[in-house]
């Protein structure tokens, strides 16, 4: 019954999750067991890259959950991602111990440089993994709770919400750039040594992180699927399509939005926490408004309102980014900018919508008019047939 609800009714999702599951099984083998000169060998670079993409896919999922289903456009989701990343980074920094450049048993290198006497209170406890993981969820979750509570209660919606979330992440970026904040300022946190006792640069650790990211993504997908197919999910959809009407029907719109927002922020934070050990650095640049808005375009390009569309979008846009930045860094911003314009103008349902339209055309050869109507109803229902 649950299986039917979560997976079987969602063919696109099944395909995408299937591919991810197969990759999760195959890539560790191809990376660890196959000799490097074999054509089937997957390089370390590729593992790191795909691991990064998995984190981005999780992030895109979190954005899609609130934007695609509740119609809340957050241009500050990068803040939650970065906060999760900082919490993880703080744990990894504490793990360095006295192996830093200055060899101080407790203080980070940048604190020694600033002549700090002792560890600030907010760095306490991060040497324990469980505590750090708790903070990964709690800090962004609390921020989202407070921020969302204030915003939704005053009925800040649509564009206004987008702009103040952007201001939020901008303010956090400025704050984290300050050295006095005690988060490494401009340079952020880096030079990590080990995670849970495993060397962070070891091949096995990288593969382990990759698999963890993939499993997290699949679990998060299931959770999102559970939410959107539940009764709550239906209410959320109706909030997106007719907020006042839902409110007048007696639903507490604010509470629904708030809990979804908090859940989504935690997903973003998990993505950040998985991302940091894989790239080995977290700095205030992750808070930049551009990052947050890029996430939105992954979702838009993949297909807003379909959970697997977000994953498809995150992978395809980021793959394109990797490809084009190595081919010609100048071209990438043109392409990204063009993507924003083209997707909003021509592909309101993203790649998934394009694919669906294409497939239907092959199958039924629908007349133009009906197809359009069909497309619209798909957007309205969030595309989860």
């Amino acid at each position: 019954m649950l299986m039917q609800r979560l997976l079987l009714s969602d063919r696109g999702g099944m395909v995408v999750l299937g591919i991810i599951a197969v990759a999760t099984l195959l890539i560790p083998i191809l990376n660890l067991a196959v000799p490097p000169d074999s054509p089937f060998y997957v390089s370390n670079y590729m593992v790191a890259l795909l691991g990064k993409f998995l984190c981005f896919a999780l992030l895109a999922l979190s954005v899609d959950l609130i934007w695609g289903y509740a119609g809340i456009l957050s241009l500050g989701h990068g803040a939650f991602f970065a906060l999760g990343g900082y919490a993880m980074g703080m744990h990894l920094m504490r793990q360095i111990g006295d192996r830093g450049v200055y060899g101080h048993p407790e203080l980070m290198d940048f604190m020694v440089v600033m002549n700090w006497e002792s560890l600030p209170w907010y760095w306490q406890g991060f040497d324990m993994f469980w505590f750090a993981m708790l903070m990964v969820l709690l800090v962004p979750g609390l921020l989202a709770l407070v921020f969302g509570f204030l915003a939704f209660r005053s009925r800040v919606t649509g564009v206004y919400f987008a702009i103040i979330t952007q201001a939020l992440t901008y303010a956090l970026m400025l704050a984290f750039f300050r050295n006095e904040m005690g988060f490494g300022g401009n340079n952020g946190l880096n030079d990590f040594k080990e995670i849970l006792g495993f060397s962070i640069s070891a091949k096995g650790t990288r593969v382990g992180l990759f698999v963890t990211s993939a499993v997290m993504l699949i679990l998060a997908y299931m959770a999102c699927r559970y939410i959107v197919t539940s009764r709550m999910g239906r209410v959320i959809l109706s909030i997106r399509d007719a907020e006042s009407r839902t409110r007048f029907s007696g639903y507490k719109v604010e509470s629904y939005k708030l809990w979804l927002f908090v859940f989504s922020s935690m997903l973003a934070a998990i993505a950040g926490a998985l991302y940091v050990p894989q790239v080995g650095i977290i700095n205030p640049g992750e808070f930049s408004p551009l990052n947050s808005i890029e996430m939105v375009i992954w979702v838009a390009a993949g297909g807003r309102g379909t959970l697997f569309g977000a994953i498809v979008g995150a992978f395809s846009v980021n793959y394109a980014k990797t490809f084009f930045t190595s081919w010609s860094p100048e071209a990438w911003l043109f392409i990204l900018g063009g993507l924003f314009v083209l997707v909003t103008l021509l592909l309101p349902n993203g790649l998934v919508g394009l694919f669906n339209r294409f497939r239907r055309k092959l199958k039924h050869e629908l007349p133009e008019e009906e197809e359009k109507a069909d497309d619209e109803s798909e957007l309205k229902s969030g595309g989860n047939q």
């Binding site: 456009l73 921020f147 204030l150 915003a151 209660r153 005053s154 009925r155 800040v156 649509g158 564009v159 206004y160 987008a162 702009i163 103040i164 952007q166 201001a167 939020l168 901008y170 303010a171 400025l174 704050a175 750039f177 300050r178 408004p289 808005i293 939105v296 375009i297 838009a300 100048e330 911003l333 043109f334 990204l336 900018g337 063009g338 993507l339 924003f340 314009v341 997707v343 909003t344 103008l345 309101p348």
Partner: protein, 553 residues
């Protein structure tokens, strides 16, 4: 204390030597002049040009003679030569006749006689005209003498202040007393009184010291403060000590007041920058309801237009800003109309999509500028009339750039108000924004009005770019730095309300500047942003929300 004594002793000694040397050279020149008078029929007195050539080519003795001869000339440019020579800004090359150049504070180098800009090859050949300490002090005294009797009040005032800074001694006292008898400007008289009082403070009679203290009561000069502080601690006379103490307190109160004024001015100045950046957005976002994330890039285009104007007309730097204002308006306005016709018009009624699409446009514009003009910052030069500092008193000084931008921001605001309230375009814009269907029904071409309104907002952004090019770096990222601020200004002020934009820009500027001393620049900005976020929660429609039907959507 002993250090100080040494210093004064050494200084007066060196002054004495100088005076001696000066007297000798003077008599020498007098002799020379006598001779010249004798041979008047044969050789004429050297002209200004000849003396300047002698100054840069001769050895130190000849230089001294040239300096003296120059002092005798009644040429207004003598002060320039001395000033440049004294501060090491006078340059010459080894050709015959030598090219003489002055290096200005902004780094540019111009030919001395004509003021024309020099070729790079010529500049490379220039050597600094070196002087020794003796000549430098001689110059300083001469300069003081010349400038204290200058026609311009500003020059006289600054000359007196320089004397106060350098310390007053017997020579300068006579100069000052002479001047005091004929001086008419109150500002200069005040400064002279301060200088004389500072000298009087050294007197050994307590009554004279007390009298001097009462004169220094209102003075804001740093020297006056320092001397009074020393006096309040070390004076043998009890009465003098308390008087000095009181004077210091009254000075401190006065200084607090002027610091406050300064903060207000800087706040308003920042506010005017925010106003300029935000007011175009107030039109496109506030009136039309279009989220234009490329607004910052339109500002950037305006700034680049200023740079282009200066590149195209290098001879017209003085006028470049006046040319750039309409040029930037047209260029940014056209780009804006292109954006509206090309993208935004398909997205009316879908604000979130508009936001994303215009963000894409902003990325494209940034990258286009980066590809066309390189990612490096471009230097836009400032005309002379806009640079410089307006010194109101020793504590309060205002840069002209900021003053002009403040005025300019208000002018742009007034002009925009006029357009919106008094012209047919403004009427149509308001009609369309209030009720599109009805406006169309009475014959307004709404799509045409949309394009023009967007063009107007974008053009104003371009004008903001001209102003910003004078105070920040002109580079591809210029726009990004202002986009969030501009949105905050509009949202804080209340969407669709130009007056609200004015009030919110100014108050944000003021709040920011009043927080800065306590929190530092970065944290002040963060605090303002957080305050704004909280404020929007409280009043989602801004300070001055629209009322009635227009507010319905």
């Amino acid at each position: 204390m002993t250090d100080n004594c040494h210093h004064t002793l050494w200084r007066s000694l060196s002054r004495f030597c100088l005076f001696f040397v000066f007297a000798i050279t003077c008599s020498a020149t007098l002799h020379a002049q006598d001779e010249a008078a004798v041979n008047a029929e044969v050789t004429e007195a050297p002209t200004f040009e000849e003396l300047v050539y002698q100054l840069v080519q001769g050895n130190l003795r000849q230089m001294g003679e040239a300096v003296d001869a120059l002092t005798e000339l009644d040429n207004p440019r003598v002060v320039d030569v001395f000033d440049a020579l004294g501060s090491g800004d006078l340059y010459a090359d080894r050709s015959e006749p030598p090219t003489i150049a002055i290096r200005h504070n902004n780094g540019s180098t111009t030919e001395f006689f004509t003021g024309a800009p020099l070729l790079d090859e010529t500049v490379a050949e220039l050597r600094q005209v070196r002087i020794n300490n003796r000549l430098r002090s001689q110059l300083r005294t001469l300069m003081a003498q010349l400038s204290i009797n200058d026609e311009s009040v500003d020059v006289r005032y600054n000359a007196v202040r320089r004397m106060i800074r350098d310390g007053v001694d017997e020579d300068t006292i006579t100069l000052l007393q002479d001047r005091q008898r004929i001086e008419s400007a109150a500002r200069v008289n005040g400064a002279i009184a301060t200088a004389l009082a500072l000298y009087e403070l050294r007197s050994d009679q307590p009554t004279r010291r007390l009298e001097a203290i009462s004169i220094l009561r209102g003075s804001l000069e740093r020297e006056a403060r320092n001397t009074l502080r020393q006096l309040s601690e070390n004076d043998p006379d009890e009465e003098v000590r308390t008087a000095a103490e009181n004077a210091l307190n009254s000075i401190a109160g006065k200084m607090r007041f002027f610091r406050f004024i300064e903060t207000v001015f800087f706040g308003l100045s920042l506010g005017s920058v925010l106003l300029l950046a935000g007011i175009g957005l107030a039109i496109t976002f506030g009136v039309m309801g279009v989220i234009n994330m490329a607004h910052g890039e339109l500002i950037m285009i305006g700034a680049y237009t200023t740079w282009m104007v200066q590149q195209l007309f290098p001879d017209l730097i003085q006028w470049s800003l006046l040319i750039a204002i309409p040029a930037a308006f047209v260029v940014s306005g056209l780009v804006g109309i292109a954006i509206e016709r090309g993208v935004i018009r398909f997205l009316y009624g879908r604000p979130l999509e508009t936001l994303l699409a215009t963000f894409g446009i902003s990325l494209i514009l940034q990258q286009a500028v980066r590809t066309l003009f390189t990612p490096l910052n471009r230097s836009v030069s400032s005309p002379d009339w806009i640079s410089g500092v307006l010194t109101i008193n020793p504590v309060l000084s205002i840069t002209y750039t900021r003053l002009y931008i403040l005025i300019f921001g208000l002018l742009v605001f007034a002009a925009l108000m006029l357009v919106m309230k008094r012209t047919s375009l403004g009427l149509k814009v308001r009609a369309v924004s209030q009720n599109r269907a009805m406006a169309r029904a009475v014959g307004v071409r709404s799509s045409w009005v949309d394009a023009l309104t967007f063009g107007l907002g974008s053009g104003v952004a371009g004008i903001a770019g001209v102003a910003l090019s004078q105070i920040t770096n002109v580079g591809p990222n210029l726009g990004q730095a202002y986009i969030i601020d501009s949105f905050m200004v509009v949202v804080f002020g209340g969407v669709g309300n130009l007056w609200g934009t004015l009030v919110s820009a100014m108050s944000l500027g003021l709040i920011n500047n009043f927080l800065e001393p306590y929190a530092g620049a970065m944290l002040a900005k963060v605090m303002v942003l957080i305050m704004l976020i909280l404020f929007i929660q409280k009043r989602p429609k801004g300070l001055f929300p629209q009322k009635g039907r227009a507010a319905a959507d």
